[in-house]
Amino acid sequence: MMLGRTAASLFWMSRYMERAENMARLLEVGHRISLMPGAIEGHRDEWRSTLLSAASEQTYSNKFDTITGPQVADFLIFDESNPSSIRSIIRTARNNGRAVRTALTRDVWESINTTWNELVAVKASELTPDRLPVFLDWVKQRSMSFRGAVLGTMLRNENYYFSQLGNFIERADNTARILDVKYFILLPKPSDVGSDIDTHQWGQILRSVSAHRAYRWFYRNSGYKPWLVAEFLILREEMPRSLLFSSAWICTALAGLSALHSKRYSVHDQAEETRDRLRNGRMEDIFQSGLHEYLQHFILSNNQLSRDIGATYNFP
């Protein structure tokens, strides 16, 4: 038995910590591309693509007329008026954690609290471009410390399952977004497909989910090929940020809840349908029907699943 609000806070706390890591990864990729002078003629809109992947282009353009690296970085890291900035994300995660301290182990709470305490000590003026990578690494490390504390110390009860649901719904959303936005926005002309720049973009997509080495191990002699990269991030359960992996974990967490409560709801079927479709999916079909459409559909149904879980378990 637990409060619906407690479940909601655990869910959102984990969602936001996962989001913080993702934001750091996106910024890292933007930063890396920006460091390659002239390597990609006519494609210097890496910061716009970063804003798009972060679903923050609109809020940014409401505030600024031009897109510059330092401005985007500041907006996505420190800006308090931007609900998607790393600072806002971590503040929200911590507020959720604070509201349900009683449901957290000491390690989980101290991890998230330390992250916040250290973050508020970082001054925007000190975060020059040369220090950006170190800072982004720190964000990723803190997110991993949080996840490690959750995995290592929380009882496998409701608290844990709701936290996992938030974690993997967010991750699925992030991976689908990166794949979609990066591919369809960064690539300007059909003639670029298969070119150096195309290969380079796929490399960056992999990098943004820390999977470029894993990809090489997994596919051995293949270079970066769009259908393989897409397959890796959508259909391979071996890849811990793939849609299938995330979906399978959502089902595991829901199954945990259903075992604890001795109750099964329609969200369970909904989640399992998605997972089974991914398990039986084939890249040919996905490309055939359009990758963009496929991913858009996934993002929408993932959001719907999130709302339905909330309604099922009485999130206020």
Binding site: M1, L3, G4, N113, N117, N314, P316
Partner: protein
């Protein structure tokens, strides 16, 4: 720590020896370590309207305050007497009002009091207890003389600091505890739970379900709310988590609604139930008060207990104790002038520079004048406010408060303290040995409130 002859008093012998060997470096390191600990765990309090430091640490002093068992026994007897009288008084005020009929307190002081809740008239709470958790602020004037400064009968805070201060001391200086028997305080949460269970509604069969009701994470004492819920194994609820249905209180869970029997509320009376009290409040539970009146749920502390800790009532407490116990009060009140009284007002206005003047309904050290440390200008400004609304103020002499050794920027130095022991009333009265010692960190200052920069220290009661 020392008696009049300058000798270290016996309860302090060990601490005195320890202080002689404590180097500045060790002390500084311990202080730093304690601060890190509090910061890491998020043991903070929020300051309203202070965006920059939205969450602050309360400074922790590494030198404990010590009571001998015999001192504590005497103090406890006085506290227990007072607490019984307070509960009897509240019961009487909301029933026959014998004390008013007997003319011991003017009726106007009660009826016109903002803390008086007419809706409580005739309500019979479980075991007749109204104030289940009371924090009594006590100051020591000399070795054998204690005065009560204030009774906190609504939702007294600070118990989490009492517990965390002890944890921190045991962590920093385990050897200090090894050499003497310091009475434990860590069973407070389980005693609190027992107390709350013992006042469950009569209709509740089986183990009562207890919740802690908080206004939420922005409340200054949120840390304490979460801490107590956690330590008691009770759910920490906000108003939205609770609802009334079919004559019972329930909480919204991830499954079926779960019935609730006892609400340890940490929100003020006015916000408890928008249907009975403030309709604009959104932090309470609609319908809660009607359920309470019907005896279906217990609210701890009961609504309307504030009538007993109001500063205008405080001055009558010696009479209250005598009236209900038939005994002389064991603990004295600080002599107090009621400014509503013309003669007292004249005296107070003439002696402002040597008095402490407080607002009757104020708290947290706000809206007060500390005469001896105020400038002429401040005194004159305060004089005008006092003359404009004398009934709003009481005045007390600045007492020669006892001071205890405290670690300061310039080494160990005496600083003024008060003490808030925590008393639980349910099937019986339980007093935790110790309490929260608050210390004025500024030299000479008498103000110990955390909102005014005061700190805390661990409080030891040595066992025989």
């Amino acid at each position: 720590m020392q008696d009049k002859g300058g000798q270290v008093r016996s309860p302090y012998l060990r601490v005195g020896d320890w202080l002689k060997t404590l180097t500045r470096k060790d002390a500084e390191r311990a202080r730093q370590e304690a601060e890190n600990r509090f910061r890491r765990q998020g043991i903070t309090f929020a300051v309203y309207g202070d965006e920059e430091a939205a969450e602050r640490l309360i400074p922790f002093d590494i030198i404990p305050r010590v009571f001998a068992a015999s001192e504590w026994r005497r103090l406890s007897a006085g506290i227990e007497q007072r607490v019984r009288a307070l509960n009897a008084f509240i019961h009487d005020i909301y029933h026959r009002q014998e004390i008013l009929r007997a003319g011991r307190i003017p009726a106007s002081v009660i009826v016109q009091n903002a803390a008086f809740v007419p809706e409580m008239m005739g309500v019979d709470p479980a075991r007749g207890i109204y104030a289940h958790i009371i924090g009594i602020d006590i100051v020591r004037i000399s070795e054998n003389e204690f005065y009560v400064l204030e009774d906190n009968c609504r939702t007294p805070s600070g118990v989490s600091y009492m517990l965390e201060d002890r944890e921190t001391m045991m962590h920093l200086f385990p050897e200090l505890f090894a050499h003497q028997r310091v009475a434990p305080v860590e069973n407070y949460p389980s005693l609190l739970r027992k107390t709350l269970e013992s006042v469950a509604p009569a209709a509740c069969d089986g183990e009562p379900t207890i919740v802690v009701l908080t206004p939420g994470i922005h409340n200054s004492a949120f840390f304490e709310h979460a801490f107590l819920a956690d330590e008691m194994g009770a759910e920490l609820c906000e108003g939205d988590d609770l609802f009334v249905m079919d004559g019972a209180l329930y909480m919204r869970t991830t499954q079926e609604p779960k019935r609730v029997d006892v609400v340890y509320r940490r929100i003020d009376d006015a916000f408890l139930d928008p249907l009975t009290f403030r309709p604009d409040s959104s932090i309470g539970v609609p319908g809660l008060f009607d359920l309470y009146r019907a005896g279906k749920v217990t609210i701890v502390n009961a609504p309307g207990t504030g009538i007993a800790d109001d500063k205008s009532i405080y001055t009558y407490l010696p009479d209250v104790i005598e009236f209900y116990t038939g005994e002389k009060p064991l603990l004295k009140n600080v002599p107090t002038w009621r400014c509503s009284d013309t003669q007292s007002l004249t005296y107070v206005l003439e002696h402002l520079h040597e008095l402490v003047v407080k607002e009757v309904h104020g708290s947290g050290g706000y809206g007060m004048l500390v005469g001896p440390t105020s400038s002429k200008k401040e005194i004159e400004q305060f004089r005008a406010r006092l003359k404009a609304n004398p009934a709003n103020y009481i005045a007390q002499p600045t007492l020669a408060l006892s001071a205890v050794p405290t670690y300061t920027a310039s080494g160990v130095a005496p600083r003024h303290v008060d003490l808030r022991p925590f008393v639980l009333s349910g099937d019986r009265v339980r007093i935790t040995p110790g309490g929260l010692t608050r210390v004025a960190l500024k030299k000479g200052s008498l103000v110990v409130n955390s909102s005014q920069g005061g700190g805390t220290k661990d409080t030891w009661v040595l066992e025989d």
